[in-house]
């Protein structure tokens, strides 16, 4: 069972690496923020599955933090784009 978890974690990291292309080459800043939002979702998923693989409950808190703060980052970035202030 734990090998399945490791496979899923590595797969999500590979998908995040694919998204790095869009993060590097996005023509506008909105494209980069979209890619960054998707990458942080994948990172939260990979952290949850790595926690289940390595039997470390500490990583679960890291995943929760990632999932909630990616939302905060997207909201702050879009607010900055709209109004020019934070």
């Amino acid at each position: 069972m734990s090998s399945i978890y490791l496979t899923v974690a590595i797969g999500e990291v590979a998908i995040a690496a694919l998204l790095l292309i869009r993060l590097a080459s996005g023509p506008t800043i909105s494209d980069r923020i979209v890619a960054l939002n998707a990458i942080s979702t994948q990172a939260a998923l990979a952290t949850v599955f790595f926690a289940a693989f390595a039997r470390r409950t500490v990583y679960l808190d890291v995943a929760l933090w990632l999932a909630s703060f990616s939302y905060l980052a997207a909201i702050v970035w879009s607010r900055y784009l709209e109004r020019g202030l934070l």
């Binding site: 899923v8 979702t41 998923l45 939302y71 784009l81």
Partner: protein, 117 residues
């Protein structure tokens, strides 16, 4: 039995996540990319987390946290995508030249016409 369900759900989640990533890479403008990011990435995350819940049990430490992350992503990802799309439209990010409809511009034009008359 349980392991088969876990493998199936994880495979579904992985395929959806891969589809969303390819969509973000290949789509022509930022609004189409936001669509891929908001729906397909979320839909890829949920089956993978449900796979963990099935594998560990919903009341275990890992399963309950996976459920919490799934609920959080389900609420938070569409809201963030909506804010991003709104910001992109307001800052004037150009649409793909082949786009056929801009309902916001049409509504604003008809409202301005109504005020002028």
């Amino acid at each position: 039995m349980s392991e088969g369900i876990v493998i199936a759900l994880a495979a579904v989640g992985g395929i959806f996540s891969l589809t969303g990533a390819v969509g973000i890479l290949r789509m022509p403008d930022v609004y189409c990319r936001i669509q891929c990011s908001s729906m397909i990435i979320t839909m890829g995350a949920l089956p993978a987390l449900v796979a963990l819940v099935v594998g560990e049990g919903p009341l275990s430490t890992y399963g309950s946290r996976a459920l919490l992350v799934a609920a959080l992503l389900l609420v938070v990802n569409p809201a963030a995508s909506h804010a991003l799309a709104r910001a992109a439209y307001k800052t004037g990010v150009p649409m793909w030249p082949g786009a056929v409809a801009d309902r916001v511009r049409d509504t604003r034009a008809s409202e301005a016409q109504g005020e002028a008359q």
